[in-house]
Symmetry: D2
């Protein structure tokens, strides 16, 4: 079960401008897993009817952040130290889903991956990202 | 000398929503090099007075795109296939500079790096990214 | 089913010095998946009773190569264009297993991942790698 | 000036099997920089007269290790946490040079890059790697 509630998550990240601008949605929340969604919008479309790279990177980064908070609780100041993303297929201008999971949770660093899928279009991922997050040392102890 | 003019670049990328929203500026443009700037703004600030990861990734991606077009000319549909970014230091909420350069320019793929600096704050980079771009096969021949 | 036989694989890669020196073993072979093994040896041990990074990288690279040939058949000259590996836990000096899978198979590029496990020690991976391979354009057509 | 002598470096790494097998040589050693060399050998050649990926990855990893010890002194147990390498051009079977530099030196993590060149062949790099190393907390204090 996730160590953070949707209310705590909303309090931490709901007002972040890049989360609000992209209308990112948390669909599912587990202990080290998350399913997030980027609704289709002309604001992040690219010529050719596809989705911009920056919007996809933001979804990957936010999706992993949510999965990580699902594992460690409401630690607002966890920050990305590395994000590596491979764009595999040009997504159509449909909602994108990010399936994130924590692979390794250490005291100071967490590592994991996010697969991005085009909702209702194909089972093949459109992008794959790996991320390392730094966890601040003074985070409140887990229950 | 750059193989694209500022006017051509503006025509290709000036209206992209994420470029416009962040007010990204091209400061210098060479053949395979570029210096771009992300003006400081509350829109991409993060609690603690620092700059959001997504805004820094967008600057890195755009900076390399500009450097690449400086090398190959106005090829709008060049797309990122990999972006890997390492966040090295927490930048203060000042303008960020991206120094991009193409390391390898092939027929179909280009590879390079971007160093991000906090303007007027320190000579130490706040982030380092490497990128691979795919160049469409039907691009117009270079003069 | 794999598009390459063990005999073909042996003919292509069995004599490669780094495969032979590390005594790398193909345990399972599928269409775009492979399970390979690095037997424990003092030759790639590191002070502290752990396995050297280069040996782990070689297992990851070879494991993905085998998975890729399982998907495209005996194309000896497929080559790595990117390998990114994250070392997650210090493995004890036991056999290492690489579980590789192709995530995206294109005409010219393939992308996938490898999880490395310490055999008989833990279900948690000791390393995770992502790889991009370039597939030569003149490869023989698949049956 | 480097914080480690060649004698200390030899004592720490000279007997590592993968360093010895590849006959890796330290050509230059600075504070956070290093120039290392991989002599050409049939042992790490690949069909087509080129150098194997694993040998190039080992040179990159060792090169950055040397540069890092040049910055922090004789800390044997610094270990790689991430290595990402892009292979840019097929090198001929000549000696390879690794030019490594530390970009960020933190208390617990160091980050940097290595460019690999084919000696006497071209000024264009054949590969580019970025690395993150973990520095053990109990390392002896620097003078």
């Amino acid at each position: 079960m996730a160590r953070i509630t949707r209310e705590e998550l909303q309090a931490i990240s709901g007002d972040l401008p890049w989360v609000a601008q992209l209308h990112l949605v948390v669909e599912e929340l587990g202990e080290g897993t998350a399913r997030t969604r980027l609704p289709a919008s002309a604001d992040h479309s690219r010529p050719g009817g596809t989705i911009s790279g920056p919007a996809m990177m933001t979804l990957a980064d936010y999706g992993f952040y949510v999965a990580l908070l699902g594992a460690i609780g409401p630690v607002a100041l966890a920050v990305t130290t590395n994000l590596s993303i491979n764009f595999l297929r040009k997504p159509p201008l449909l909602d994108l889903i990010g399936e994130a999971r924590v692979i390794k949770l250490g005291k100071r660093l967490a590592y994991g991956e996010v697969l991005l899928f085009s909702l209702g279009h194909s089972d093949d991922p459109v992008a794959h990202a790996t991320l390392t997050y730094s966890i601040p040392p003074d985070r409140p102890p887990l229950d």
